[in-house]
């Protein structure tokens, strides 16, 4: 049966043989370019506000589309938007803990999913126990077993700062989907970013450059949103790369969907400010 031709992909050569969609599909060996455009822009100012360095425009950056594990951008984004494979996974999605720690919550009777990326990237919210004792906090799950959730830290819901560990028998709920990726971080490491990266090697945690919660901004119906942050240097560092993360600290790690390298890495001294902006185009 002949099928009506709807479109022929243009070619620069008249000698290019026409091939079927099936044949093209079998030939495809390289992943498509990511459709989520992301760009960075960086400015450095002296302590008096004088512009010392500015990126020559927006830099398009890399999306971690071949990373293994839950930090992969495509996996994270699909779960963020679609809920993920463990949405409403069963009765122990909520319950009472049997133990809590600074980076963990245990329910010895639980049956948390462990296949694939399991619950990594989801949020667990904890509250007072059934007697009303204990505080409210939530954490981003970075890994889990059938009975133990390991998180990056407990967050204060009002401020995002570190919170007190919930009561050992706190009530909890595991929320479907994924936590956002609102944290910005920088590094002195100069190795080129790779789509398989899962962490920012040699991420800075001193000299004023700790991983920071970005300022989020979006205009309704616009195709982009931005995350920005200003660091004030307390020492000397050369900034070679930056990335966006879904957890507050390097211990937890978190999803790392976007990473970028500075073309002319600026060196900051104490008192300089580093103004970083990442623009994510969502189509």
């Amino acid at each position: 049966m002949n099928s009506q031709v709807l479109y022929v992909a243009p070619s620069t050569s008249k000698r290019t043989r026409k091939i079927s969609v099936r044949e093209a599909g079998r030939r495809a060996k390289v992943q498509l370019s990511p459709l989520a455009y992301t760009h960075w822009h960086l400015e450095v100012r002296s302590k008096r506000g004088r512009l010392r360095y500015s990126d020559p425009g927006w830099r398009r950056n890399l999306t971690t589309d071949t990373a293994t594990g839950y930090t992969n951008r495509r996996d994270w984004q699909s779960k963020l938007m679609g809920g993920g494979p463990n949405m409403f996974f069963g009765a122990t999605a909520s319950g009472s803990a049997t133990a809590t720690g600074a980076t963990s919550l245990t329910n010895a009777s639980a049956s948390f999913p462990t296949a694939g990326q399991a619950l990594a990237g989801s949020i667990v919210a904890a509250g007072p126990n059934t007697s009303g004792a204990g505080s409210i906090a939530w954490g981003v799950i970075v890994s889990n077993t059938a009975t133990v959730l390991t998180i990056d830290q407990w967050y204060n819901p009002g401020t995002g700062a570190a919170a007190t560990t919930p009561n050992a028998t706190a009530t909890y709920q595991i929320l479907p989907g994924q936590f956002a990726a609102p944290y910005l971080a920088v590094t002195t490491d100069s190795v080129a970013p790779a789509a398989s990266d899962t962490t920012l090697a040699s991420e800075l945690t001193t000299n004023g450059f700790t991983r920071a919660l970005g300022t989020y901004a979006h205009t309704a119906a616009a195709s982009t949103f931005t995350l920005t942050h200003t660091w004030t240097a307390s020492g000397t560092d050369t900034i070679n790369k930056e990335a966006v993360f879904g957890a507050v600290n390097t211990t937890g790690g978190g999803v790392m969907p976007f990473e970028s390298a500075e073309p002319n890495a600026p060196t900051l001294v104490s008192g300089d400010t580093l103004q970083n902006t990442v623009t994510i185009t969502i189509g």
């Binding site: 927006w58 119906a221 982009t224 307390s234």
Partner: protein, 172 residues
Amino acid sequence: MHVHFRVCGYYDWEHADKHPGVVVTQADVRALRAKQASDGRWLIRVEREADTHHDTNIPEQSICAFMVGQALHAGNELSREEAACHFLRHSYKHHGKRSHVLQAIVHDGGANAELMQLVVKAHLDEAERAGADAATLQRARVICDEVTQRYLEPGDVAGAITAQFVRKQETP
């Protein structure tokens, strides 16, 4: 802190190919009016007219950390209003012009003394780890006390933001 702007326009991005004949230059790139997508195509900044809104979330931690960092290392004494406006200024310039802004509504959770204490502690701990001498640490503590006092002073963030950003008067 949630800052909600009612706006009459905003910046957006389109593929240059949608505008036959448009010429993208190095000056456009430097001015952040054009950028290349990951597939190599050019995106250009466009200005849309619309009765819509723009939302910004300024983390209180960022305000605290910026005030402390600027005081300790740049000698700049900022108020909480000034710190908030700094973050808003550097974020909003990528989304629109001030002449787009009709109204600002600010949901301000207020200064958080506990949070500021955590930020101050982190700075002082790092100074100690870096080997600062006793005199330097004492000076840092004094500066941090001054920053904390300034941070907790009653202020009018909404008023400051309105004064800086709301330029266009809505036509009745």
